[in-house]
Symmetry: C2
Subunit: 217 residues, 2 copies
């Protein structure tokens, strides 16, 4: 599958995220913004979610990457309409780029458009890209102090996914502490403990997403 | 030990990193900028390096953190002069903040001042904070594709430390690939495979640092 590559535009327009939301609403498309550190497992988890959701919904992916096409190729190999967004060094995606890319998709044919943001636990949380919902991924090896150290990423999200549960025995990681810290900054928001590697917890997470998507569509 | 907290100043001045360098040179102080993703193990590794170097050199630490004092407390507990720099949401440290903090230290009594940058594999690499040298930390769980995906962080550094070697058996991580990618973007620069947990590789790394420090002092 051919991979289209967009480069991020750095002009900023306050209204753009609202315009993106309008466009998505018109076409009944949900945009899910996936955020997390480099190596948290965003791409691997997205692959699992695509497999879990593709029979029920038609999907698309915008792959944010600073410079390479690695992740967009992964998505294209799954046969999912996929566009790469190169930020050319920038540490987050902005709504302007999403607006520019949307016409690449036949939105009437897309129920759910995933955006994999740049690997970064800080900046992406500050930018509304026009998303319908946000998912924050934290992986066990990153440590259990991340919610208090990088609060915005955990406050400004709809759900937390604690990934790489398969390696929990090898790290000093207090799951209860993370869940408590998360409830402290984002009361009532759900958290899921999963492993994209051994697939544990993926069913619970995809059931939650299906419920959310059905309610939003 | 009391912890002083500074807040980052966002004004920018092109000459500031040069002024910081001048000040450090005058006092024969080396500033080492430690960079890496959230949870790469910057603080744990710094603790090990402090133990390895403190008998030979007098040390100081500036702990960059978005909002908390967790890491500065860790350093103060070791009895090392330590100042916290809160960036209040910003994703990197700038030279202006370092300049403002330097008078907190008796630089004539400090050989090596470590700066632990914000956990971020993107932005900190773009900012010269007046450092004498840079160390980039990549941890095994982050994955072996990070050098090509976040190249600036690996190009603009003096050495690469591949941390969390103790969990290598539990991850699909191709050490050779990372070393090759790193040599591709930063030819001749040394790479060390270490574990701050089981202390493997720490001796080799601290010997390298001692050599560097002796040459620079």
């Amino acid at each position: 599958m051919e991979i289209k590559v967009y480069h991020q535009i750095l002009d900023w327009n306050e209204d753009v995220s609202g315009q993106v939301k309008e466009t998505l609403k018109k076409h009944h498309t949900i945009l899910i913004n996936i955020m997390g550190s480099p190596g948290a497992g965003k791409t691997s988890l997205l692959k699992e979610l695509i497999q879990a959701l593709r029979n029920k919904y038609s999907l698309g992916v915008i792959e944010g990457d600073i410079t390479t096409s690695i992740d967009a190729k992964t998505m294209a190999d799954l046969g999912i309409p996929s566009v790469e967004l190169n930020t050319d060094g920038a540490c987050h995606i902005e709504a302007m780029s999403i607006q520019k890319i949307l016409p690449e998709f036949d939105l009437d044919q897309i129920d759910v458009l995933f955006v994999e943001n740049i690997g970064n636990l800080v900046c992406p949380a500050e930018f509304d890209i026009g998303e319908t919902m946000r998912m924050t991924i934290l992986s066990i090896p990153e440590g259990d102090d991340k919610v208090v150290k990088y609060p915005l990423m955990f406050t400004e999200t709809d759900c937390l996914i604690i990934n790489k549960a398969d390696v929990l025995p090898y790290f000093d990681f207090d799951l209860d502490r993370v869940q408590k810290d998360y409830q402290g900054v984002n009361p009532g928001a759900p958290a899921f403990v999963v492993s994209a590697k051994d697939k544990s917890g993926i069913d619970a997470l995809s059931n939650y997403l299906k419920e959310k998507i059905d309610a939003l569509l």
